[in-house]
Symmetry: C2
Subunit: 652 residues, 2 copies
């Protein structure tokens, strides 16, 4: 039974599981737990005392591996929807004991083969026993090469030595281990970021720092196992979680991470209370024992249900989360009507433009001159007219007289533009020009040049080159809206996107920047400004090539991190204090025209605490195209990505 | 005029160049230096004062870049055979000064484009000015993407801070630079190990430690520029080099590295002496001035000529240097006659076998029993008979009676074997068995089992599996020759092999072990034992799978190093103290049957001084094949190479 309903949220995090002991009566085990309110069980598949090395000496006579139930006692669809296989937790592939190591390898392969046969969706792999996990990873990597689409969840305790105040839960803590993220990182590097290798986090009663925790949201975490002894007790004797744990749970829900409750009940509720709750939740069916972990489940449900509903914009963008899109080529290609329509809906953006035009008009034309002087405003890249409308509204609002030229290179959009002007009765004010702004021979010069040519990374849709071309017909004291824009960038962990890029198995995709709604991502350091362009720009040495070297400091308490690439944003000054942008710390609220840009790295770069991360980025241009090249030079040098724009470029 | 003749050595290191100043009369410059005894010049192509940014302001009116000569004053073949283009040394692509940076980029591209036009074989790129070289590398990397087959030699001073006692030569030393190898390493990583990017080392008067120097022999060093002020003065006033410099020069000669003499003469020889030398070397032609650097050249020639001639084995192996070969698959494939013939020539190997058999016979049969007892000796994998011969010689030498079974699975070799037995009159002693030893039903049991099934890495041609099969027909107290063998491995720098593997542009070649005569290689740490196999082996838990974790300590004074892969060897104990092997520190001299094995890494691993390097290696087996998997786990984890033997395996 799902934890609750949340409009628009169809993610797996609605389902809650429970970890169980081995039980050879799987149908009984399953019905108890499903009737108890859980959606799935995480259960051992094999009798825990089984050791292949003991078999020859007569331990068991049958020659059959001692599995719990078969595909006859439960149907494959029952297995698949309700059971996550828990691989024997005694296995230790990196033990010094060779017999244990060999037994472990045999059993691991047997169990996963059996789980595949049963069509399970996932198996839970036990936590590596020590800091060294290469043989374990080698064996799992071999399995992954030939696995059906089952996921393997590697169980990793959510701990870091500095917060190591846990002695009670030591069964999941490994000896001599510094930071469990490092164990995971080593393991998944050995397995080459295999897309079927993911994580089940063991949530313990103390939590590492926020920066340390943050790293996991760029990793493929599928489940979080919360232990009964990580719960506190509320005034009424019921289990509850600390504020930090609550926030973490909410973050899990928001990242499609399923909760699994584990352990034995440690909250002894008075019988009266129990009755009350049971009646209240309508789950006390005659003859069936109430599930001993029900109060924990109820608390998880409560946390799920008390989350704010997803805002409309988030719901709209759900389908785009972590989905790589190639950036538009608006100069080379003509946009489609659908694209115009989508972007025109972004009212927040046009309100900012209207405010900017208003301020510019007020600055340029005093109240006294308002009735005499007509301001020449040119919208360059008018599309289907939204900036024409915003400009006219600004004129009306400020009582200034306007003459508008709407310059648009896409002949299809020009048709719509003509219709709009006719429909709105703007014929006297608006002149439509069907021409590329870079070669238009303007009949007069403009006071104000209005454009929206910005890409996610500011200049990446060639606004600088277009406005350079348009600058010819701007008066010497004229105004460009936007007057400047700056790109921003920050390092991120995002194993999802890294894997999606890698899936193409070519260089081109690793040297392409993508537009993407970043969601399963860890932002590792504050973003920094990269390239700035200012308009108009009359300097004689003016040049749209750029080169920037950036150093990022990863916060010390993050621990080591893995950089899969860089997230890019922009912030534009439309006019004076009116700005527009998507840089996270200053982003214009409720604007949806731009998702961030993502620059991948061909090889993920590990950065140790306290070591700086140096990124170098170039904006290059040739006669027919503009492109970026990028590389990391610290902690060690990466290849230069996209040399000569061989993989990714924007056509002029 | 080459430095001298050395039998078998046809490498470029016979040719010596000279670095010159800019001269716009290139034919004159060239004839002076060629007549002066040098083979080529390293000369600037462009007037050093030229700056593109000054051109518009009327510095030069022609609009032509000021190049020294054209393809009309010297023919392309003259340019190509005698001139290395020296790129303007003022360029600084990582300057803080944007104008200098842009001028540098323009001039660099102009000069290299011009050099390509002239069909030069190489250009010398100036040393990066500072520790940061990313923009320089970015620009050169762009050039490399579209370059004809010209080489670019990056000029790198052979220094390291700890040896930084050089103030006189500071023009080639960069500010704040710690270790020039690190600059090179960063630069070539940014350029992705491009095969046309190589090194010209500036040899200064003081030298770094031997371990630090050693690193360069795994790098693509094409030239060494030796400065006149690095020379000492001998008793007679002539230039000479320190012992360490002499050894270094010899190492350069042995690695096909060309010497270039640079600088002004600093040894003022008395005129009398000069005459003497001039007459002696027959180089004082009427009217032509003796070359001012002639005494330096003569000294370089002297060093070249006093080298020991190449030993015969080295000459034989010259063609195999750094040439990747796939290991044999002797079990799956039948060897060809040519292969047998080559290996049979390795007399050293058979002498060792003969010694081993002799010792075993003496141990097994006392002098008293010698005339009564016949020892049953089986050669398993007899090929065309060399071990049969060695065994019979051992019997004769020791006066022991022998009965030999020669078991061979290759039916073609068996034909030759029959001929041999007939030819030698061995019919009474030798029984030929045409059968795979793993399934032969032997008529009696052997006292001694002799085999030579070893590969470069010991067990890699499946000696363990074959001898397991043959062990059935060895007496309980029988002897196997070899009685054991161990593989050894060490990390190496070898950019040549890395590039050759990379040139295949696929995963398979990066996950294959190669047999290769290692030459341009830096051995970074002593080799360590890996897997050992002992024969016979009667243990019940016996198993030919192996797993080993190795930690290498790179000597502190090496500085940082780059690991491109691992070189593998073996050492076999034939019998008691008679061994056979190729592990460098204990290798059997003058044996040529085995070159080392090379395990590449998909991504080279940088290791900082004092940081350990951890390698993990598995020998795995399935029903039809045996394979290795390997990975690096420290300083950071690599992918596991060759999972499930997907790329490389040896068929059973």
């Amino acid at each position: 039974m799902p934890l609750g309903e949340r409009i628009g949220d169809k993610s797996d995090s609605r389902y809650c599981g429970v970890e169980t002991e081995y039980d050879d009566d799987m149908p009984q085990l399953l019905s108890t737990n499903i009737n108890g309110g859980f959606d799935f069980v995480v259960s051992p598949l094999m009798e825990p005392s089984y050791r292949p090395s003991l078999m020859d000496t007569g331990h068991k006579g049958s020659g059959l591996a001692p599995f719990a139930g078969s595909d006859l006692v439960l149907s494959p669809s029952q297995w698949s929807s309700h059971v996550v296989g828990k691989i024997s937790s005694w296995i230790d592939l990196d033990s010094e004991d060779e017999i244990l190591r060999k037994d472990s390898e045999i059993v691991l392969k047997q169990e996963i083969s059996w789980a595949s046969h049963l069509s399970l969706q996932a198996c839970l792999l036990p936590t590596p026993k020590g800091a060294s996990c290469a043989n374990y990873a080698r064996c799992v990597n071999q399995i992954l090469q030939n696995l059906n689409n089952m996921q393997l969840w590697l169980r990793i305790p959510l701990d870091k030595s500095e917060d190591d105040a846990m002695n009670g839960n030591s069964d999941h803590l490994s000896e001599g281990q510094v930071d469990s993220w490092e164990t995971w990182n080593c393991y998944r590097l050995l397995c080459e970021h295999h897309s079927q290798l993911s994580i089940a986090l063991d949530v313990l009663s103390s939590l590492p720092s926020a920066n340390s925790l943050g790293r996991w949201f760029g990793e493929p975490v599928r489940a979080a196992i919360i232990h009964t002894n990580s719960f506190l007790t509320n005034a009424r004797g019921y289990p509850c979680l600390s504020k930090r744990h609550q926030r973490l749970m909410t973050a899990f829900f928001n990242h499609s991470i399923q909760i699994v409750v584990s352990g034995t009940p440690v909250h002894n509720l008075p019988t009266g209370n129990l009755e009350l709750v049971a009646n209240h939740t309508d789950n006390h069916i005659d003859g069936i024992q109430r599930h001993p972990l029900r109060t924990y489940l109820d608390y998880v449900s409560y946390l799920y249900q008390k989350m704010d509903p997803l805002p409309e914009q988030e719901r709209f963008e759900l389908g785009y989360r972590d989905f790589l899109q190639s950036p538009l080529q608006p100069l080379m290609d003509n946009l489609e009507a659908q694209t115009y329509e989508t972007f025109e809906k972004d009212t927040v953006k046009y309100i900012q433009y209207e405010r900017a035009v208003s301020k510019a008009l007020l600055d340029r034309i005093s109240d006294e001159e308002a009735s005499m002087k007509t301001t020449v405003l040119m919208v360059v890249g008018a599309g289907r007219g939204p900036l024409v409308r915003a400009s006219l509204q600004a004129a009306e609002e400020t009582g200034r007289k306007l003459k508008v030229y709407a310059v648009e290179k896409n002949p299809n959009a020009v048709v719509t533009l003509h219709n709009l002007v006719k429909l709105e009765g703007w014929e006297d004010v608006v002149t439509i020009v069907s021409c590329d702004m870079r070669c238009w021979d303007a009949p007069e010069k403009a006071d104000i040049l209005v454009s929206e040519l910005l890409g996610s990374f500011g200049d990446n849709e060639l606004s600088p080159e277009c406005l350079d071309g348009a600058q010819r017909f701007l008066k010497q004291d004229g105004i460009s809206i936007p007057s400047s824009y700056t790109s921003f960038i920050q390092p991120v962990t995002t194993s999802k996107l890294y894997n999606d890029v890698k899936a193409h198995k070519d260089l081109v995709h690793f040297e392409t920047a993508y537009v993407v709604k970043l969601h399963r991502v860890a932002r590792l350091a504050p973003s920094q400004p990269v390239f700035t362009f200012t308009h108009p720009e009359y300097s004689t040495t003016k040049n749209n090539q750029r080169y920037k070297k950036l150093q990022f400091e990863i916060p010390q308490d993050s621990g080591s991190v893995m950089v899969h690439g860089f997230a890019g944003y922009f912030d534009a000054t439309l006019y004076k204090d009116v700005h527009l942008g998507i840089e996270p710390s200053t982003a214009t609220p409720n604007m949806f025209s731009w998702f961030p840009i993502f620059f991948p790295l061909r090889t993920p770069v590990g950065v140790r605490p306290g070591s700086p991360l140096e990124l170098q980025l170039w904006r290059c241009s040739g006669s027919t195209k503009v492109w970026y090249e990028w590389c990391v030079t610290c902690p060690s040098a990466s290849p230069i990505h996209n040399s000569n724009g061989r993989s990714y470029w924007v056509g002029l």
